[in-house]
Amino acid sequence: MTAVNARGATTPPATAGATPPRSNMGKARARREGRAAFLFLLPDSLGLLIFVFIPMLMSIALGFFRLDGFGNLSFIGVANYVRMVHDPQFLQSAGVTAVYLVILVPAVFVVALLLALLVQQRIPFVGAIRTALFAPYVVSLVVVGLMWQFLLADKVGVVNQFLSHVGITGISWLGDPKYTLGTVVVISIWFQMGYYMIIFLSGLQDIPAELYEAARIDGAGAWQRFANITWPLLRPTSLFVLITVTIAVITGGFDLIYILTGGGPAGSTSLLIFYIYQQAFLFGEYGYAAAIGSVLVLVLLIWSAFLFRATKGGRVDDE
């Protein structure tokens, strides 16, 4: 015989000793599911704990020590942080990173958004155009660096050969501090724009077409549709792009700099991430490098918090 519960669903007969009561079964199932969730999360959590959180804590702690790379460790308090303030190379690298950040983040954002708006249109060969724009991102940054080094070679590089036909000669794109950071920025935009274009494109495709149709019927122009529909509804995507581009700009870029300029000429492309690498692995100043890394993480956290606050966490329903 089956019993009918309050919702009208049937339950098996409650045979004492053979089948546990409903509430016990629910608890057991919840326990099993909890255990399953725990087991599924365990590998990733362990990985994060061992390879991210523990090294992060150790790195923060290391910032208060002098460690020379041969196991000689001594506690020096905040000396590494004080050293930063008086280290002209650190200050120069911080300045270069700030300029790089201020130019590159908005540039990648704008270029990627414009490209996404372009390839969203129904234009011939749009698939091929999207692929072509995304293609640089799938190439290794080392290959990108070597390829541009070849194209931008002094005197005989393709770019300079082309420019010589229009009367522009003698520019050293990778050897003159006036041009190097700009050159690296342009190459970085070229490399990254395809990826963020795809992110924006997915955001654009999530916006209901009915909104645009209604706006058109109401007589809204292209700019009005962008300003009142696209821009606000893209806010979650924009927040994601801004944060990830910022992180990519601050913590990435090493490969490109390493291959293209080696931080030169005259330190003009010595980003902080490159300076950290130099201090740790070239000079054996692991404590100092860890301290700079901690400062960089702090800057990133502050910037991310600011972005979250400024964009209200990317929510679109607050206006």
Binding site: L42, L46, G71, Q149, S164, G175, G267
Partner: protein, 452 residues
Amino acid sequence: MAELTPGGQVTRRGFLLGSAAVAATATAFTLSGCSTKGSAAGRPLQFWQFYAPQTQTAPDLKAQNDWFQKAVGDWNAAHRQKVENVFIPNFTDPSNTRLATAFASGDGPDIFLISPGDFLRYYNGGALLDLAPYMTKEAIADFNPDILATRQVGNGVYGLPMEVEPLAMFYSKPAWEKAHLSEGDIPKTWDEMLDVAKKLTTPSRSGLVFETVPGYFQNFTWYPWMWQGRGDVVDAHQNPSFDSKAVTQALDLFGRSVRTGVAPRTDPAAGDLPGAFAQGYAAMWQSGIWQVAGFRGSQPKFEYGVFPLPTPPGGIPRTVLGGWAWCVNARGRNPEAAARFVVETVGSMSEASVQRIVDWCSVAKSDMPPRKSVDARMKAKGAFDDPTLKYFHDTILPTGRGEPRYPPVVYKAISNAIQQVQTAGGDAAAQARTGNDAIEAFMQTYKGGTLL
């Protein structure tokens, strides 16, 4: 073992248990891979270098590989504690982090090669074993004192040089002919060098190439220009002497060469000298004796010449002598056996040891010898009959000084000064002062091996 349902399917419980087991095993393997220290006991001593074992078929690379393999093979045939060659790609690039990270994790190799540029970092870190107790006085005296000095601290010998690599100026004979220049135009002074470079410069060719990439190597190439004016980074009492006329004029030489457009801001042909000469991208280039082998390997028919580095007014002929040295990790697994291996292989007066260096400098490579006995034997066997090598040996080598050794902060101060003047148009005197200030601040608290 995963649980199966009567139908042979894996149950959820079984799947979860299996997944957990796989994850645990993978984690254990991953973590065990983080350290090799415990499991390394009883293994052969590791010799990290950039020559062997490798399978390259280029004649010079094969000869170098064979030499290293034979040297280790000879030792292994006669000793219980074996040694193993470990090939580290890109080892010569100072930005290669493998050696540094190995030491940082307490797992450095037992035997390894380093250049003087890195010496103080390893010595001050306590990573180098003194080899003097394993050597005879006769063997120590057999080394060229200038070459050994940068590997010595007090009476200790912390590295044994296997070769000497002087710098000189290489020039492309076809480029000179096109510019209507002859051997009589070979410059002897800096001004003459810049004048000749101007005549050799074309829209596609750089008349003169100085190293442009910031780093240990650029500093290495710049030192002789400073020494020619009797300048130095620190004086005999270890006081900074970077703010001097000699330093200023040497910095300005690099700056002038770029300002006048005769030298490039980036290395032509990505630094491949024989390739750049053959393709007409460069006409004169400051580089080392290793380019002799480079031309032989990649441009055997190309006609090039060599001349000593020109000097400033009132200056003295000077070049720098590079080269790699064998070192022993003081914290390795069997430092004593490692030291005996190094000394017996390249630092004893035995017939085999002397002949081994003769073979290295004249068969496997085309280098100058670091030892007097080796020099005599190379002369006797006609190793310097080749006109270019004879020129290096008789004319350039006697003007040489061993590559200096400076701690990273000093190296960086010098590098910054060179870069600022060479590529950013900085004032040479001001940069010499800035560099001097940085070196002075560092030396006030520096404790470690003498700067040479």
